[in-house]
Amino acid sequence: MDGPGNATRRATRFPFFPGFRPLATVAVDSRADGGRPECAIARPPPTMTTTSPRKPTLTERLTRWAGKRSPWVLHVNTGSCNGCDIEIIDALTPRFDVERFGITLVDTPRHADVLLVTGPVTRQMAPRLKRLYEQTPNPKHVIAVGTCATSGGVFHGHYNTLGGVDSVIPVDMYVPGCPVSPEALIDAIYKLLEADAAIDEAALPDEARLERPESMESLPDGAILDGEATGESPPNAAAAGDER
């Protein structure tokens, strides 16, 4: 028989889970530092920043390229009333069908690119939300879905909620709405990816910048691979685009 202690010990030793630790060690004090709990984490730097002059590796670029074209989302409920959750499900149904954009709901944070967090973060859920965030591979994004997740909403200042997702993990896009409409959610993901693309474009060093065709559809499939492999991307990409 495996008790919780055995399971935890095994998980801590397991090499695939660096830094894995039992939840009980994460202290939550909502009012310790200006309302931010101890388990709150700061915003990580984007994968490609202007401060690092190195050319992004092939893996980094492929990951971001794929993440922008098919952002896989994980739905996290941190004490929501289920209104926003139903709207998220609504966005997945054939009526709005976010799979048009390659968005699909995944079962585990390890497969996710985007966390859709609903609800004012309860004290019970805060360490778990932090763990979910840490389990999500980089590059990752967080969308606070709904008024509660954005600011705490009617639960603002309540004794057992922390008042918004950004009190625990960094948030990239806030979607107010009580509940949000599925269209507002699609709009938020669209705005998020647009902002993300702008960051990428600005952060790329000049010599690594691809001369992208105007339309995304005309981007040749192997453009990034070719460019990375040979180190001279712009002529290849442009030529391949013309052939199509």
Partner: protein, 122 residues
Amino acid sequence: MSVFPGRLVPEAIRTLFKGRITSRYPDEKSEKPDRFRGRLAFDESKCTGCGLCARTCPANALEVTREEDGSITWRYDVSKCLYCGQCIETCPVGSIDNTGEFELAAGDKADFDRRHRFERET
């Protein structure tokens, strides 16, 4: 869901002649119902600064402050608003109105803080 061909096949054939149900949202925006409640609009020419909207707001999203020089600040925190519309019903002069706007996503929380500052004789 029934898997008997006797019911499935006619349904599948019927579906072939039905229209598309999926809305093409970012390209074509659907019409919202007339009474859809979105973000508030504020008309500061009508406001008297009575503060009834702030008193009735269940989420404390509205804040009306009157300063000594007679200026009134009407502050609306979009990120706390529940879109219940009680302030619209409460306002005695009808200075708050409902816009159907719902695409409110923003990456910066400062975008949600909307303030109107205007002069009123006391």
